[in-house]
């Protein structure tokens, strides 16, 4: 089963995470959307076969959110990036980029 690298906790097994949504749900700037734009964003998905930027949460771990570049056929994970304002620090307290 998939191993996902939590930016804060390191590589962890998929059962610690939950997939939340596709990255395409995030394109809005609060309050700026027209109605149809909002409905398209909320309801439509490209659902293409290939790599997707996906939003996952480390629910059974640090509860941090990550953006994962993952292929929806091979399940290959290319990278995972931290989201939110919690900085990723190494064990000496230094911030990671």
């Amino acid at each position: 089963m998939q191993e996902i690298r939590c930016p804060w906790c390191g590589p962890r097994v998929q059962t610690e995470f939950e997939y939340y949504c596709d990255d395409s749900l995030l394109t809005e700037v609060w309050g700026s959307e027209a109605v149809q734009q909002n409905l398209d964003r909320v309801f439509l998905r490209s659902n293409h076969l290939g790599y997707h930027q996906e939003i996952w949460q480390h629910t059974h771990g640090c509860r941090g959110w990550l953006r994962v570049l993952r292929h929806n056929l091979t399940h290959e994970i290319k990278e995972s990036q931290p989201l939110g304002s919690n900085p990723v620090v190494d064990k000496d307290g230094r911030m990671q980029s």
Partner: protein, 1005 residues
């Protein structure tokens, strides 16, 4: 028959076991199969469809026939392979799938009727008359199925664990051991697994020698070295059954019987690199009556001899298309078995192989074709060959067959690795890997011992390189199998593939009597005729063939049948095998016990039970509990002699007339702090939360992106930049994730901190006209604070009793419609507060009340429960809260609410219901119709979403979602509840949801 010498069994100890009630003996080191063979047992089962007699066919996990029930009757495991069951003292084995007995099975009449039971027959019959189908079906079901499920759960316990390693080597045969030996010298953490009881793979089954010692001794030596190495773990009786994403391999380890607590252990291994040293499985030949007891794979025949010192029969013929089977001729002849002949499909076997035969006086027939004969077991073989016009008959009780070797590439394929057809070998071999793996040994189509050992070493070098390491053999020398004679190589002739279909007419002419069945899949009784028929009927893709004939769909998963079936199909389609394709390999490699997959997390331990910190208090007070999601909550508190109904009525009255207390700790709770928290809450809730002043509470409704009510709760402003919000019990987790998503993903620029404190804060609601009076007793110096808290207000307060102080958050919120206070304290103080309140209770006739009373109280007030009265299809307007929608700010769900359907007539709207006849009952789940007799599609105009009996109003109260309900206030409709045996519709009047104190005067006192 047992040889007096040789084999890897411990003759010093005897193990007693039984087969079909017959007492037998074997030795440690035996498998159940080898012990049966040593005891001369030839008949071990009946085939699935035709109930043909069957014997042991192989010596491994590919076994299609020897499926037995193992264990004491009540908990026996059905469908267990005798070839994979190590013998133990007291083992009870029974054959299955026959009636009345194994020897005399009346269901073998199916065999006579087999032409009628041709492939797919059940699709072509029992179609009419429809009424009889259930009868046919019952019959079919009884005939189907192999073993019986045990009547109760067995005593077996299963453990599960995770492991990590650098290299996982699957298979401890020559290639696996060679690779392990090489890698042991590095720092890498290596795990080696093998499905057998001891390592060695086919080294145990053959006569070989390596580096001067015989194969098994070499194997023991290497294994001792590996066991001593700190970085190497060895697991036996461990089957790698599934390869999952990112190099996660699932292992099923069987622990020796009588071992501590667990009988099996599931390992989920994350290996950085995996070596598939999974070997190959011998391929059967297909010929007339090739399923008779006494016919087995040539490799198995010599395995039983070499590893278990068990002779498979007295007089043997060997039928083969390759050189490896000649080893059986040599080994068995040298052990005293009368090897009558080798019948070779090929015209020109190797000269050295032929020499070995003539040395032992074994006849050789070239260009041979055979048919087997016998009834309950093999009696003779008739063959024709290129050396003569005449067919001849050879009496024999054993026939060892070999059609070549099929690499065991299941796991490689599961890992997504490509598979390549190798015409030289007439089989598939692993191609380019997809994940971090490498294949080594016989699985690559190699057969010579030298080749396999070398391949194992090569794999180790490759793997080490992937870690940036260099590895050398311990003493600088690579492994050298000495005296490797030519028979130790497999030489294969592509002109004679395993499925060389005997042309029946020609063969009959040549007198070998080739009528009879030609089995391709033993377990599911699939013959060549079946495959041909399927082809004729258009089931020409390999998956259709499999599903139509059930070839390869048995518990052996086609290990000895898939390739032959594929070959046959390719022949019929006149296309090369790789074009026809191969069926997909899916986990598990061999069947895995369900209990192992569940581990301990089943039954009572399936999911956690959540109890509030006050649980013990509830128990003490006589609570009757019910589930609310994962929570256990009190429904009511029973006093001596009470029924639940009486108790609930009493509790309701207490709240309305005196004072009651209830545990509200299960509500979701959050602390929201930061400069932007007002803005945040404004976006989340439909109402304006920025206008909420400190020290005040507000009801909050939040929506999903589709405009539907997600949850409701309370929002309390503790300070300018500090809010405390509550959610419903059932949606707490969902709301938490929703809010976290908003803050971390959508709006990270907002300066907001969110902490979930559902379990950290406990809550007790004290409700009733006497609530404030009671709390005055506890408020100590904060009495003024208590008095000044307005309805929907908040204060921080200290409760004290004999010098003890508990700081609490006091929220004057009411869910019951009476004057009420919700007291929130840190969880560790909860029991103390509960006791504190209780202690002052008697003077006010304070009573704890549970969920059922709470439900009636809120229904009387028309307050909703999200999940019941708002069910994910409900907008704020539907539940009468349209006025709460802010007009001045944007919030989640606002756009979706502008859609036309949100404002159309016909929507289900929240209303109250009152039975026309006061005595009539109203129940949650009843459907509603306009007229009493309305039936059919469109008859339902809604349903009762909440209901209960109100002792104060002396009638049932109910909330309902009714189409255009608000337009029909005062009208009579009908409640229909036929599912609960209420045959007559009940007339109900549509009323306002709030049935009690609609002005809210009691709340505001």
């Amino acid at each position: 028959m047992r040889m007096s010498q040789g084999g890897l069994i411990d003759r010093g100890r005897i193990l007693n076991f039984s087969f079909n009630g017959r007492s037998l003996q074997g030795h440690p080191g035996d498998s159940l199969a080898s012990a049966l063979i040593a005891n001369g047992i030839r008949l071990v089962g009946r085939s699935f469809k035709y109930h043909r007699p069957r014997g042991i066919f192989s010596a491994g996990s590919e076994e299609p026939n020897a499926m037995l029930r193992i264990g004491p009757e009540a908990t026996a495991e059905p469908n267990t392979r005798a070839t994979q069951t190590p013998l133990y003292e007291g083992l009870q084995a029974r054959s299955q799938n026959h009636w009345p007995s194994l020897e005399v099975d009346l269901l073998s009449i199916n065999n006579l009727l087999s032409p009628v039971f041709s492939t797919g027959f059940y699709n072509k019959t029992f179609i009419s008359p429809r009424k009889l189908w259930p009868v046919y079906e019952k019959m079919l079901r009884h005939i189907a199925g192999h073993g019986r499920a045990p009547g109760q759960r067995g005593p077996e316990q299963f453990e599960q664990c995770f492991s990590h390693c650098d290299v996982l080597i699957i298979g401890a045969g020559p290639a696996g051991l060679a690779a392990a030996r090489r890698l042991a010298s590095t720092d890498l953490r290596v795990v080696v697994v093998d499905e057998c009881e001891r390592p060695g793979g086919w080294l145990l089954k053959e006569n070989t020698s390596i580096d001067g010692s015989n194969g098994t001794d070499w194997c023991d030596r290497i294994t001792r070295q590996l066991s001593a190495a700190e970085n190497v773990t060895l697991l036996y009786l461990t089957t790698a059954f599934g390869f999952y994403d990112h190099n996660l391999v699932a292992l099923a380890e069987r622990l020796p019987s009588g071992a501590a607590t667990f009988s099996q252990r599931l390992h989920r291994v994350r290996a950085k690199q995996v070596v598939f040293a999974t070997g190959s499985i011998e391929r059967p030949l297909v010929f007339a009556n090739n399923d008779l007891p006494g016919i087995m794979l040539a490799g198995a025949a010599r395995a039983y001899l070499n590893q278990f010192a068990a002779k498979v029969g007295q007089r043997m013929v060997i039928y083969t298309n390759n050189d490896s089977a000649y080893r059986s001729a040599v080994d068995l002849s040298d052990a005293g078995v009368d090897v009558a002949a080798v019948a070779d499909l090929r015209e020109a076997p190797h000269a050295s192989a032929i020499a070995r035969l003539s040395e032992r006086g074994i006849s050789l027939y070239k260009g041979a074709r055979i048919a087997a004969h016998g009834r309950r077991h093999l009696r003779s073989v008739r063959l024709c060959h290129s050396g003569s016009e005449q067919a001849l008959q050879l009496d024999c009780d054993t026939l060892a067959v070999s059609g070549g070797w099929t690499p065991t590439l299941h796991l490689h394929s599961q890992s997504g690795g490509a598979v390549r057809f190798e015409p030289q070998l007439d089989t598939f071999v692993p191609g380019t890997p997809k994940q971090a793996t490498v294949a080594a040994g016989a699985v690559n189509g190699l057969h010579g011992l030298q080749e396999c050992l070398d391949d194992g070493e090569r794999a180790a070098v490759t793997i080490a390189k992937r870690f940036g390491l260099v590895t050398g053999a311990p003493n600088g020398r690579s492994i050298d199998p000495s005296n490797e004679s030519v028979e130790n190589q497999l030489l294969f002739d592509t002109d004679c593939p395993a499925v060389k279909v005997v042309n029946q007419h020609k063969a009959r002419r040549r007198g070998i009597g080739a009528s009879g069945k030609y089995f391709v899949d033993f377990q599911n009784d699939v013959t060549i005729s079946d495959v041909r028929q399927a082809y004729r009927e258009s089931y020409v893709s390999v998956e259709h063939l499999k599903r139509y004939t059930t070839l390869g769909m048995g518990t052996d998963q086609g290990k000895t049948s898939n390739l032959n079936g594929l070959d046959l199909l390719a022949g019929l389609r006149e296309e090369p095998v790789p074009k026809v394709g191969i069926t997909t390999f899916r986990p598990p490699y061999t069947p895995v016990t369900l209990g192992l997959l569940a581990g301990q997390s089943q039954g009572a331990h399936l999911s956690p039970t959540r109890k509030t910190v006050l649980h013990a208090k509830h128990e003490q007070a006589g609570a009757v509990f019910d589930f609310n999601g994962l929570w256990l909550r009190p429904r009511c508190y029973l006093r001596h002699g009470e029924t639940e109904e009486t108790a609930i009525g009493r509790e309701i009255r207490a709240v309305r007339e005196g004072v009651g207390m209830t545990d509200v700790s299960t509500l979701g709770k959050f602390e929201i702090q930061g400069a932007d928290c007002a803005e945040f809450l404004n976006r989340v809730y439909i109402g304006n939360m920025d206008t909420l002043v400190s020290g005040r509470c507000r009801y909050g409704l939040m929506l999903s992106d589709d405009g539907m009510v997600l949850d409701d709760g309370t929002v309390t402003r503790l300070d300018q930049q500090h809010y405390f919000i509550t959610t419903s019990t059932g949606h707490a987790e969902h709301v938490l994730q929703h809010l976290e998503f908003l803050l971390d993903v959508l709006w990270p620029e907002l300066d907001v901190n969110l902490v979930a404190v559902t379990e950290q804060w406990a809550g007790v609601a004290v409700a009733g006209p006497a609530s404030r009076k009671l709390l005055r007793q506890l408020a100590g110096s904060d009495t003024e604070v208590l008095e000044s808290v307005p309805y929907m207000g908040y204060a921080s307060i200290e409760l004290e009793e004999s010098g003890q102080c508990i700081k609490a958050r006091l929220l004057r919120i009411s869910y019951s419609g009476e004057m009420a206070y919700e007291i929130y304290v840190p969880a560790h103080s909860a029991t103390h507060v509960w006791e504190l309140i209780l202690n002052h209770g008697p003077g006010f006739d304070l009573q704890p009340y549970g969920m059922d009373a709470m439900d009636v109280l809120r229904i009387e007030k028309g307050f909703i429960v999200v999940g019941a009265d708002a069910d994910g299809r409900t907008t704020p307007m539907d539940i009468g809260m349209g006025a709460m929608l802010s007009k001045t700010k944007h919030f989640i769900g606002r756009h979706a609410l502008t859609r036309p359907a949100m404002h159309e007539s016909g929507r289900f709207q929240l209303v109250g219901l009152q039975a026309v006849n006061y005595q009539d009952g109203l129940f949650e789940g009843a459907q509603l119709t306009r007229l009493a007799g309305d039936r059919g599609y469109g008859a339902s105009i809604g349903h009762i979403s909440s209901a209960g009996f109100s002792p104060l109003l002396q009638r049932h109260v109910a909330l309902a979602l009714v189409r255009d309900g608000r337009k029909h206030l005062g009208q009579t409709i009908y409640s229909q509840d036929p599912a609960r045996a209420c045959p007559t519709p009940v007339g109900v009047t549509i009323v306002e949801p709030c049935a009690y104190d609609p002005e809210g005067a009691r709340l505001r006192r």
